[in-house]
Amino acid sequence: MDVQKHSVHTLVFRSLKRTHDMFVSDHAKSVALDEERNPSEGGVHSMALALPPSQARHDTSRTGASVSDIHRHAGGAERSHAHSTSLMEGGGTRNSALTRKAPTMPKPQWHPPWKLFRVISGHLGWVRSIAVEPGNQWFVTGSADRTIKIWDLASGKLKLSLTGHISTVRGVAVSSRSPYLFSCGEDKQVKCWDLEYNKVIRHYHGHLSAVYDLDLHPTIDVLVTCSRDATARVWDIRTKANVHTLTGHTNTVATVRCQAAEPQIITGSHDSTIRLWDLIAGKTRVTLTNHKKSVRTLVLHPRQYTFASGSADNIKQWMFPDGNFIQNLSGHNAIINTLAVNSDGVLVSGADNGTIHMWDWRTGYNFQRIHAAVQPGSLDSESGIFACLFDHSESRLITAEADKTIKVYKEDDTATEESHPINWKPEILKRKRF
């Protein structure tokens, strides 16, 4: 981690702020507002602009910096935003009719660290995708050696190998409504396997190029696949008909997710946009252009109405149904291939260089970084994570890696809050431009 270089006044200011937060802040008391500034713009300006140097020096010269000044200039963006909106509502009266929310930084929830506990090898090529069976007995992996392997979850032993694809298997999904396994590959094929007979029973024909990802709708018998031909296609499972072709992206659609609530389909693409689709009409509802680099992965929170997207520049969290931007999770400076989220609020991001970062979903605090060693016999450069997934009990994290292994992680039971303390240093001045 690089030490960020700050100017002297920034450091002094921050230490003052910390002291104030710890000892002085009276949350019940309201704060006097500066009337001269335009209330709605004021918050915006304080966020956008750097701390005006003259003001800062002025502040530090006065030993007893007033609380109001600190509050005014400590432009935590989230506070000012709420600030400005509440001001607008209140009509800008001076008095304490507006009680602001306490300007505390929320403390991240403590999560036990995760450690590697099993390495499963058996594939002869990169392991590209994972899916876990609804009953949590076994999981499926698709690999670059064109096979699909079914492994027992508890023991890690191979149960079955399925062949049929003629190129890398990029996506697998197990249906919870019928005994089907769906797989898609770089050979433009989307196959439906009947698990009672272990045979392919259906092909969904229509994609013009490699199919990168697929997802099943939780309540309707519909399959959505996304491909390198910049489209996502909605298929009726039973009739194999291509119900909708979702066009609009201008580059490979790398990831697709389905949910029962609106918007029902979310896609992320290499043109760095995310689109939220209306499944009934087959049209885009919202386009999110916040990312700067290709969006390679999406994940929907299991209990909240939010989702996260991962790209090489940042991981961003968004709200449904309109895709309002919540926050950035920055720190994982690598090409993020996969995201997975837990009901406890643990977000896992796996990157192309083999590193895994564990985040607290709510605050965006990165509490752990793992870089597992490669399988003996592999080069060090052959470390990369292509897919990661929590099993249905949410206690095991399964990752599909580039050194042809599947690694299973579990929480470290011996760790406590004291042994692995939270080291939370939030950015006070959000001077970064997004």
Binding site: V44, Q264, N290, Y305, Q327, N328, R362
Partner: protein, 458 residues
């Protein structure tokens, strides 16, 4: 009012509730007014970290979800059925919905319209669809795609500018193959070897090489020393030997000298005897000497013999005078007794004369003897004396002969052909005589005519 409005695609400036200009109308041009488009700066700023229980973060309740699911499912089913309608079997025609009645109040009222009535009742019936009807419209025509929806505003800062240093870091040198050179470029040697990675690896030499070299050097030196020493010792030995030999020789010489001088300690022969012995010894020695010389150089001739065999030009070169002294002028004998006199040579300009040779190649006296004449004894030479017996052998006569073989007599001369063996000429003559009663013609004449004709043809 009166002026015709020229159509332009400029948007009218719109103002929102607070009086601020809505600049995002540009981004919302072709879309419905309730479409979600993020265009404000605040949209890309992170929000406050919310507590988990806030209502904004909660998923919609199950009923809403179920409703949505149902709606979606029906819509999708309709789509699917349309798509696979062609594959479905022909069924009996669907029963249409019952007729609808609509009460319609036309806008134009009056006595003339609608025969005075104020309202009309219209019965709406769905038209029957023929179940066997093939599709009415061709849908295989390819038409270009319509314009896409307007692009969404970009919600991030533009990418950072590339510095020259960073661009240089990513520079990839062109590939210079060690095998192919399609365009036949001439590439300097340092560029050809650039990709080899020669400078990247440090060469590790095992230290045992140095040890080996040292050991060899030491061994070499030691060997040289040993050889030198040995040589020196040998030289010393040889010198000693030589000295010894010299001593011996000196002694012998001394002895001989003493003996010659006559100082002898033993054996007096007498003076005269001694003298005679000495003379004999000397003469023997001389004879031996001469014999040796003659044996050694037998080619050595006496001076006189040498001079006699010299060529005249050599004698001239050596300056020795002519051995024969004759006053007459001497002529080359080849010049005498020749045929040609004054008129030899040109022959008067005649071209046709064949005068390349003036003498026959070989005179006749030689030719007779050179012509091959077989002698009577040739057979004897070839076959020895057995010629008669050989001729009479019946070794090569076949024991059995072919049936019908002609016992031809031995021929002495060329083959004699029989005149008319099969009697064809006679037959032809008879035929002519019999057939040619109209034109009688003698056989001889016809023959003559035939021969004449033949001759004329030739």
């Amino acid at each position: 009012m009166g002026r015709r409005k020229k159509t332009s695609n400029a948007l009218a400036v719109q103002v929102d509730a607070e009086g601020k200009i809505k600049y995002d109308a540009i981004a919302r041009q072709g879309q419905g007014k309730d479409k979600v488009v993020f265009s404000k700066y605040t949209d890309l700023l992170p929000k406050e970290v919310l507590n988990e229980d806030t209502p904004e973060l909660q998923k919609p309740d199950e009923e809403a979800v179920k409703e949505l699911t149902e709606k979606t499912r029906l819509a999708l089913e309709k789509q699917v059925s349309q798509k696979i309608a062609a594959a479905m079997p022909v069924r009996a025609a669907d029963k249409q919905a019952p007729a609808q009645y609509i009460r319609y109040t036309p806008s134009q009222q009056g006595v003339a319209f609608n025969s005075g009535a104020k309202q009309r009742v219209i019965r709406m019936v769905e038209m029957q669809k023929d179940p066997m009807e093939p599709p009415r419209f061709k849908i295989n025509k390819k038409i270009p795609r319509g314009p896409p929806s307007p692009p969404a505003p970009v919600m991030h800062s533009p990418s950072r500018k590339m510095t020259v240093k960073e661009q240089q870091e990513w520079k990839i040198p062109p590939c210079i193959s060690n095998w192919k050179n399609a365009k036949g470029y001439t590439i300097p040697l340092d560029k050809r070897l650039a990709a080899d990675g020669r400078g990247l690896q440090t060469v590790h030499i095992n230290e045992n090489f140095a040890k080996l070299a040292e050991a060899l050097y030491i061994a070499d030196r030691k060997a040289r020393e040993a050889v030198e020493m040995r040589a020196q010792v040998e030289k010393k030995m040889a010198q000693k030997e030589k000295e010894k030999k010299e001593e011996k020789l000196r002694e012998l010489a001394q002895m001989a000298r003493d003996r010659r001088a006559g100082i002898k300690s033993h054996g007096d022969k007498g003076d005269e005897a001694r003298e005679r012995d000495e003379i004999r010894h000397d003469r023997r020695k001389e004879r031996q000497h001469d014999r040796n010389i003659s044996r050694a150089a037998p080619d050595k001739r006496s001076k006189l013999q040498r001079d006699q065999e010299r060529d005249i030009s050599e004698l001239i070169a050596l300056g020795m005078p002519n051995p024969r002294s004759s006053s007459e002028a001497q002529y080359d004998q080849r010049l005498f007794n020749q045929n040609k006199g004054m008129d030899s040579g040109f022959a008067g300009g005649e071209d046709e004369t064949y005068n390349v040779y003036d003498q026959p190649f070989r005179s006749g006296r030689d030719m007779a003897s050179n012509i091959y004449r077989p002698s009577k004894n040739i057979d004897k030479d070839a076959y020895a004396d057995d010629l008669d017996t050989i001729m009479r052998t019946s070794r090569f006569a076949p024991g059995k002969e072919f049936s019908g073989a002609d016992h031809g007599q031995r021929r002495d001369g060329p083959v004699q052909f029989e005149e008319d063996p099969f009697g064809l000429d006679k037959f032809l003559e008879e035929a002519k005589q019999h057939g040619a009663s109209k034109r009688p013609s003698t056989s001889s004449r016809s023959k003559d005519d035939y021969h004449d004709k033949k001759r004329r043809k030739e």
